[in-house]
């Protein structure tokens, strides 16, 4: 995260702080194995993920949260298979320094924000409105799938990010390609696959009336943002649509500067959209009570 998705890391830390949550980094954490590991060996992949779960278990933490869906998926799959299959658990544990006892629940940052904190909490720190922003929420393929592993939100039409962004006062469009594939890691071996699939997502976002895409995955962000120029040059298109992490948008609504949220690192520049942001005169709760009073007065 620090290396390849710095802005996601920075914005998530800022937002969670604003929400009053204390994040603790597991000491001596290691790579989850990502795509290469499970493409080679499932036991090895599970061991890489379970090593981190063991660390969290030792810390006495019941919940592990990660912004990256790929890490999340690795943790959830390893946990699920070890919990359900004792032989597999033994194989994995034999590769680890300390056995994993299957007591940690892995959750995405989005799930923690949406389910554990709740939308009322999410709305509380809002100080700023961004009237020009119209967001297409893009969840990607593995944040909430496969449903039996993810156990969060709807696998075909998820709504958690929609609701969170709405709660911070941002306009969200009805976006049909929330869970379409962006091409993922195919950018390396076969770039055309990614540009073909990414172009579909970008086009649908524009069709839906959005001027910005919100993502929850570093690889989606990379494919949609970094490769947008490749899409354009390869396909003769003229896409120019900024791609922000949902946490960056939340951070803006909470009044943080684009620099603090790493928005200055975006390839497709979002300045023209976020320029419109302005402080809300009253805090949302006070505004609500004021509105209520006004309504009662009538």
């Amino acid at each position: 995260m620090e290396g390849t998705a710095g802005p996601y890391d920075a914005s998530v830390r800022v937002v969670m702080k604003a929400l009053g949550a204390k994040l603790t980094d597991p000491p001596d954490w290691s790579c989850c194995g990502s795509t290469p590991a499970h493409a080679v060996d499932h036991t090895f992949a599970a061991a890489l993920a379970a090593r981190n779960l063991t660390i969290v278990e030792k810390m006495g933490c019941p919940t592990l949260t990660t912004p990256c869906p790929s890490c999340l998926s690795a943790f959830k799959k390893a946990h699920r298979r070890m919990a359900r299959n004792k032989v597999f658990a033994q194989e994995v544990n034999s590769l680890l320094d300390a056995p994993y006892n299957c007591t940690v629940t892995a959750k995405s940052i989005l799930q923690v924000i949406y389910e554990d904190m709740g939308l009322d909490e999410v709305a509380r720190p809002v100080t700023t409105e961004i009237p020009d922003l119209k967001v297409a929420p893009y969840y990607g393929c593995i944040l909430n799938r496969p449903p039996e592993v993810a156990g969060f939100d709807d696998p075909e039409n998820p709504i958690s990010m929609d609701r969170v962004l709405e709660a911070v006062g941002v306009k969200v469009v009805d976006f049909a390609f929330k869970v379409e594939c962006c091409g993922a890691a195919f950018g390396v071996p076969k770039k055309e696959t990614v540009t073909f699939l990414t172009a579909k997502v970008l086009e649908m976002a524009l069709d839906a009336g959005a001027n910005c895409i919100a993502v929850a995955c570093p690889l989606c962000q990379q494919n949609l943002d970094l490769r947008q120029a490749q899409v354009n040059s390869g396909r003769g298109s003229t896409f120019d649509i900024p791609v922000l992490y949902f946490s960056q948008i939340m951070g803006l609504a909470y009044g943080y500067s684009p620099q603090e949220l790493g928005i200055d690192k975006c390839i497709v520049r979002p300045e023209r959209l976020i320029r419109s942001r302005a402080p809300i005169a009253q805090a949302p709760e006070e505004r609500k009570t004021a509105e209520k009073k006004a309504a009662q007065g009538e």
Binding site: P155, N157, D174, A176, M204
Partner: protein, 653 residues
Amino acid sequence: MRVGVFICHCGNNIAGTVDVARVAEETRKIPGVVYATDYMYTCSEPGQDEIKETIKREGLNRVVVAACSPRMHELTFRRTVEKAGLNRYFFEMANIREHISWVGENKEANTNKAIEAVRMAVMKVMQDKALFSSSFKVNKRVLVIGGGVAGMQAALDCADGGLETVIVEKSPSVGGMMARLDKTFPTIDCSICILGPKMVDVAQHDLITLHAYSEIEDIKGYVGNYQVKVRKKATYVDWSKCTGCGECMTKCPGKNAYDHFNFGVAPTKAINIPFPQAIPKKAKIDPQFCRQFLKGKCGVCAKVCPTKAINYEMQDEIVTEDVGAIVVASGYGLIDQGLLPEYGGGRYPDVITGIQYERILNASGPTSGHIERPSDHTEPKTIVFVSCAGSRDKSVGIPYCSNFCCMYIAKQAILTKDHIPDSQSYVFYMDIRSTGKGYDEFTRRAQEEYGARYVRGRVSRIFPKGKKMVVRGADTLLGTQVEIEADLVVLATAVTASPGAAQLAEKLHISYDTDGFYVESHPKLRPVETNTAGVYLAGAAQGPKDIPASVGQGSAAAAKVLSLLSKEMLESDPAVARVNTNACVGCLKCVKTCPFQAIKEEELRGGKTVASVIETVCAGCGVCTSTCPCGAIQLQHFTDNQLLAEVNALCQM
């Protein structure tokens, strides 16, 4: 005690994996057994004659047959021994087919198990007591639950046979799903035109009483004597005064009521008559949409009604009907589109269900039979039909085929071409299931004459693109992805059990399967009977069915009712619970546990309180016997002593 044992080969069914000759040989060694033999088909006529002759020749007074499940032939053999002069309860069956030969491959082990099973049956039969049924009077009235085509057919057949018939229909009109259809396959005749006369017959038949807009509240009793409480839901219109003129509906300002009859294709008025041919053609108010109920002021309908039939104070009314038999024809439901998020989950107005499209096609529907998109009322040119929307899909919990979607999709594709000649229909299908008479020809016609393009593959996603709906799927014959930009998408949503089917089953004491459909007594040989005597099934309540099958079952159920109620008296099953008043301490635990309310409190002459079983109500389930702390209540033919004799037989080996 002279016991005779007959061990059946059942062709190879039993003899294939059980050494029946050895079973007979071992059985002969049991004290009390004077005769044991094996026989090819014991249930055949010569087989039964053999039993009768042996009873006489050997002077048998108890008989055991080791063969199939008693559910199959117990009654057959009871009659056989009765004909030979024995009490029919001096007979036992050992199930060595379903329990042994069919489930085990090891012949040695099977044979030993069969010997044990036969020994148990022999020990039981030696404990059996002669039991005699008593007879009771039958109420010759019939209740039909559900006024769809199956229920109406059953009611008309019963009434034509001279039985007084009561129909209880949940919605305000009879007609069910068939009344909503535009045309019927494979003849394309108008659905309401062929159903209408039946509906009128129901209304006009002297022997039929119709409770529309009513539900079953409670059912008590037993075969021949049921007491049924019917809740007549408040319509807020006095139906004895309402003439069905429709003036109230025209003037009603509450314009956003959900139209149940049209499946919400367009809103209806808060006071409404469901459709022009409704029987009874009476208005009712939906209070959740009515201004009078929501805001306490309006009263327009009351003002305009020429017969002063509106009554905002009306309450639900409970009426009791006494009947001898019940036909359950409560129909089916449809899966909620929300369970199909990949198809929009109901979010897109131009993705509709098959039954909604049926209403759009219909001349008396909300669009007067003009096909238009719900979103902008334009005429669609490209229409995509998605079959198996939920059906045959374990991920939404529906593993079964919905039976008639393939056919109605073909019909709708044909009708679409008739309505809009320059339209193009596409049908995504998994398989075309068109097994009825004239059905396959019909689906061929849809393709060959009407140019519907059938794409073999499933649809993965439906999403909007501008004004179009993009249907993305696979063509598995070409091995490629397809995307079709459609103006309108019609989903053949899966058939489910009717909402409330489980609650009704509990009231009726009948069973339902994991999908919620009612279970017949035997899938092949007793298709309209249930395991509760006097309760019969008809139509899609038992499983998805098209019109001909539903009508056929309606008539079949009526035939069963007519034969049951052709008798003046019925015989009760003597295998019921009986209380030994000397042992009963009057704790009355059994009264509380009896699921059939068959046990009542009774005071003996000496003032002692005991439990007493109402013989005709008792279903012989045996719950009371396991509850009784002092063994005072005993299920006849399954007494503690009889069961312990079996257990002992098993333990002594």
